[in-house]
Amino acid sequence: MLERRAGLVEAYLRELENDAKVLAEQYGGTELTTLYVGGGTPSFLRDHELVSLAGIIRTHFGWANLEATLEVNPGTVNTARAKLWRELGFTRASVGVQSTQDSVLKFLGRTHDAKQALLALETLLAAGFQVSSDAITAVPGQNVEQDLRTLGALGLEHISCYTLTIEEGTAFFRTGVKVRAEDEERSLELAESVLAEFGLARYEVSNHAKPGFESKHNIAYWQNRFYYGLGAGAAGHYPNLETETRDLSLEHQIIAHRRTNPHLSNWLTGERGEIEPVTRESFVTDALFSGLRLLSGVSLTDISTRAGLNASDFFAPQFEKLVSQGLLEFEGSTVRATTNGLWVLNQVISEFL
């Protein structure tokens, strides 16, 4: 749990402004299309603090002209705040509901209950937000279908369904909680079929939306576009502005880099993460790694142009193998995972690593 230590938010916003200023000077000039204020609980900020945060974005980058998402915790929503968030320019709300069953929420260690979660979603819809809800599935003892139907019936534009993942180093991992493979499989199938009944189509491994309400911001991630990453722990993807001076083979030339900011305490002292260079080859790999998660697939023409490397030729043997295994399919120069391929996408992607 985050604590409101005295002066912490002020310091955070000051540092955020520094970060914004440097990045805008370095890479600015083009219009911001999407904005996503997330990574934890931005609605943890008091109203005037969120106003300052929005001000920093406007000042240095201009407001996003297509989509501006605010991530919110169900417990922090009320009508007045929803109205303020809309006035600040947010068009979309992503709500960490996780489940509409109290037993599941308790198991997951969430502080909100089902009643609060449903009320938050209704309040945000009424305020004119496009609303997306997160759901966690495959939780031991969960009635997944009931959760999906409850959320679907609310008329949400977007639902993300994540099967519970137990990562090393977490409390679940230590206590030996196991996700049953049968539950995961059933959850994935249910998400696709049940949400379709409510008009939400699966467009990414875990994401479902009404037509036209897919997350534009997240699609930019999956298509391996460039983006700024501001704040503690945030990751950015930037073009390489320096001209290549080293004599490297084409695929090893550095065309971009990624930078992940350090955790809060280090970031507050002005420290920024290490720069991870992106070569033409790894640009293509990344584009496939994340792009194949989209049901629409990856345009090899597009990524080849942006990477300056012919992706179809470079990975020809891999494509051939995966197509022959029935895991990938081509339509013109667009490659996408087949239904079978989507189930075992890690195997597919590993071929390119």
């Binding site: 493979a181 990751a235 790999t285």
Partner: protein
């Protein structure tokens, strides 16, 4: 000068405080601390030590000024602390005139206490019982001493109560060593007769035998002969242990020391052999020599077949310092090229595997350990089988014999019922049962192969860790044995074959296939795992096909981390062995070892 030498050893059950007492004695006699000693010994000999299991014994010579005003030379000869190395222990003891028999005052007599005590009695040694850890709250020194008297017949009134940790009783122990342990006998004028009780390998000086000179003397330039191996060498240096090797003029009868003679092969100078003069040999050697004899065999295969030469080199290097380790090339249809390796026991096997993986950076697949079976064929011939997969079809076999051990177990009486049940399951035959206070000592004769599998773990768990065990080999007996083959995806996997009793084939087969189905990760397709005797399937389980293998979440900030994660998984897969199209991890090959409870 004999009167001033005392050769002794400390014997104890594991954790009864042997190394603490040794440290304390070193301190009190002004020798270096144990840590210095280890570092120094390492420097001198490149001696390798494994996680606290002393396999190589390190002797040390101490100077002690006793209460009688005289200065004595005390040779403390360390012994390995595990049943796999009982032969080595007995030879170390044979180099002594007396032992300190250490017993934890709160634990009392344990299985290893008894086995070690009998080894000492067999060698006619003076035994000084020491009841250690008397300052622990749960200590019952009188009880422990009484147990020694009741169980082993060592008079309780001779016991010294001590706490090596706080130094209580250590002076009394030193005085007892001087007063109660007899000085060595034997004459320096006699022909040379020296017992090799340990050896180490040094890259520059070759094999260095550690010897106890029983009769005669040995010095630089002497031409000596190993009685049993017949190897003749010229002595280059002799010396004593300080504990670093210190060159001296001569080793006389009664002394403990080492010699070097540019011996290249460890098999030329083996533990238990007698060193004697080439020109003037002794009349008869020290009795009881046994060439190092492995009793447990397991196949070791590199996961990457290209590493086969590297594995051979690594095994050759380990063998330089380990006469008990044997290896022969072996081919498995499933695993490719590897080696069938012989070990003194399971612990020895584990240590060797761990060293190969750690010191030589090998990725290995080890097959389930097996004992050696004696196969009698219809044509009247007999041979010893080290690898179950090599058992001929039963129409060519008349009988199969399996090795038996005499097993002794000591445990609190409340666990006796369950333990007896376990022993019945393991085809054990009770020979004897004796009460030691509130504890019981059981003697059983059991097929060695039965003890190899999950026996020790189950004994520990059903006795909540209170049972201790020890065993010795007692020869071969005929058994109603069959070979159980394991099929993965319809193909027999030779490396997984086991030999077991006919009545146990069904449950064991079931256990193995179920465990394998559990540890083999889901594959792209369903994989049947079957156990069979000949052509008859006796058990079956299925590795399910996976449907889902996809990351739930992947957004902007995740890409680098998730790529690393998948890369790691991919590397993990490379470590598995492909059998046909099925990726099989190491655990699957040891499914037979897993505990069924």
């Amino acid at each position: 000068m004999f009167e001033k030498i005392r050769n002794f050893s400390i014997i104890a059950h594991v954790d009864h405080g042997k190394s603490t007492l040794a440290d304390r004695i070193l301190e009190l006699t002004g020798a270096m601390t144990d840590r210095d000693k280890r570092e120094q010994t390492l420097d001198t000999l490149e001696l390798e030590r494994e996680r606290g299991i002393t396999i190589k014994a390190t002797p040390v010579r101490l100077a002690y000024k006793a209460d009688d005003g005289q200065e004595y030379a005390l040779n403390l000869i360390d012994t390995p602390g595990h049943v796999d190395f009982n032969y080595e222990v007995s030879k170390s003891l044979a180099a002594c005139e007396g032992v300190l028999l250490l017993v934890d005052a709160s634990q009392g007599v344990e299985a290893q206490t008894i086995v070690n005590a009998y080894l000492a009695i067999d060698s006619n040694l003076e035994i000084i019982p020491v009841i250690n850890k008397i300052d622990l709250p749960a200590a019952d020194p009188e009880g422990a001493a009484r147990e020694l008297e009741e169980v082993i017949g060592i008079p309780a009134d001779g016991a010294i109560f001590a706490s090596a940790k706080s130094g209580i009783g250590v002076h009394e122990i030193l005085e007892a060593i001087v007063k109660r342990i007899p000085p060595p006998s034997g004459k320096s004028s006699e022909p040379l007769k020296a017992l090799i009780f340990d050896t180490v390998f040094d890259a520059y000086q070759g094999v260095i035998p550690f010897v106890r000179v029983l009769e005669g003397s040995i010095k630089r330039g002497d031409k000596v002969k190993m009685w049993n191996t017949g190897k003749v060498v010229e002595v280059d240096k002799v010396g004593i242990f300080r504990p670093a090797l210190e060159v001296s003029e001569v080793l006389e009868a009664g002394e403990v020391g080492f010699f070097t003679a540019a011996i290249k092969d460890i098999h030329d100078a083996q533990v238990g052999d007698t060193v004697t003069g080439f020109a003037r040999p002794t009349a008869e050697p020290f009795p009881g020599f046994k060439p190092a004899q492995p009793v447990v065999f397991s196949g070791l295969y590199p996961t990457d077949t290209a590493e086969y030469p590297k594995l051979r080199e690594a095994l050759e290097k380990l063998q330089l310092n380990d006469a008990a380790l044997t290896f022969e090339p072996e081919t498995s249809e499933a695993l490719g090229f590897g080696f069938r390796c012989g070990f003194l026991g399971l612990l020895h096997a584990e240590v060797v595997q761990e060293r190969l993986e750690r010191e030589f950076d090998m990725d290995l697949i080890a097959t389930a350990p097996s004992v050696i079976y004696k196969i009698n064929l219809t044509d009247g011939s007999t041979y010893f089988l080290q690898n179950p997969s090599g058992l001929p079809t039963m129409d060519r076999v008349t009988t199969i014999e399996e090795p038996y051990i005499k097993l002794s177990i000591i445990l609190p009486e409340e666990y006796v019922g369950n333990t007896m049940q376990l022993l019945v399951e393991k085809r054990g035959v009770m020979k004897d049962m004796q009460y030691i206070g509130k504890r019981v000592e059981l003697h059983y004769e059991v097929p060695f192969g039965e003890v190899l599998y999950d026996f020790h773990d189950r004994l520990k768990s059903l006795s909540r860790g209170y049972a201790s065990m020890d065993y010795e080999q007692i020869g071969y007996r005929e058994g109603d044995l069959v070979k159980v083959g394991i099929l993965v995806n319809g193909d027999i996997v030779d490396a997984l074959a086991i030999i077991c009793h006919k009545d146990k084939a069904d449950p064991l087969g079931r256990k193995i296939v179920e465990k394998m189905a559990e540890v083999i990760p889901r594959q792209m397709f369903a994989v049947p795992i079957q156990a069979a005797i000949g052509g008859k399937i006796i058990a079956r389980a299925t590795v399910k096909a996976y449907r889902k293998d996809v990351l739930a979440k992947c957004y902007g900030g995740d890409i680098s981390r998730k790529k690393k994660l998948l890369n790691k998984q991919k590397k993990g897969k490379a470590r598995m062995k492909n059998i046909g199209t099925v990726e099989v991890p190491q655990e699957a090959f040891l499914a037979v070892l897993s505990s069924s409870e």
